[in-house]
């Protein structure tokens, strides 16, 4: 019953998790932001999910800005030779 009221007034959990994605990138409208805040206040699962969302978001940012080296010296030399060869054919 509580869920039904929550969903009718302040988004379903499906919508809330989607709005969390949008909010991560851009400003939501006043109404969307307000409803999302209330939903997160009242819904324990979405509250916990939001914390995990922030963790995953942080990790993905960290990952994309710190790419590790995935090529050894020998393969790198071979790749450079292949590229130079192809360019020399031009």
């Amino acid at each position: 019953m509580f869920n039904k009221i929550l969903h009718k007034l302040f988004f379903t959990c499906t919508k809330a998790t989607l709005f969390i994605e949008e909010k991560n990138e851009k400003k939501l409208s006043f109404y969307q932001n307000f409803c999302l805040k209330i939903h997160l206040f009242l819904c324990e699962n979405c509250k916990k999910y939001f914390k995990q969302f922030k963790l995953i978001n942080h990790l993905l940012i960290q990952k994309s800005t710190n790419l590790k080296n995935n090529i050894n010296e020998k393969d790198l030399r071979n790749l450079k030779s292949k590229i130079e060869q192809k360019l020399n054919e031009k």
């Binding site: 869920n3 959990c13 499906t14 990138e25 994309s64 995935n70 450079k80 360019l87």
Partner: protein, 183 residues
Amino acid sequence: MDKTKFINQIVDEYTQVLYNRAYYLLSNQEEAEDIVQEVFIIAYNSIDTFSGKSSIKTWLFSILNHKISDYYRSKYRNTTKISLDNYFSKDESWKKNQLISECNLEENSVFDDKEFISIFENCIESLPQKWKILVKLYYIEEKKSEYLSQELKITTTNIWKTLQRSRLQLKDCLEINWFKKNN
């Protein structure tokens, strides 16, 4: 400066960083090598149009990102509907079997935990390729869904839905491989 000499210089200087990004996005050595080669061919052919407004690295990365977008569009042209049935019931609330652990970011920082990072990396790699490329590109492009939408020829809603679905799968992966074992 001589065009050939210039290109050889940038091949020497930037192959490694380009390859690392290509490999990160595609998770495949052969495909990454092919794409890096294509990037330099394009760079060679368009060097006269390089204005120098951006750095060489930025320019090369931009060519790489375009090539990755081309690759994505050609391989994943048809978008299939993304299902959230595993996570949400018909009334769109969380399914009763869904585990969502309490995760406190301030305590016991996992960001420096090598084991956790390794688990997380495996979780990313276990995403379906179609979602994986999009998620990685999204973060590499610093979360610009409008730009990505134009590059990949999919709607921003589809991008967010893919991110949502991928994140739910990452959540599950972390639940099973980390939170359950460490809480």
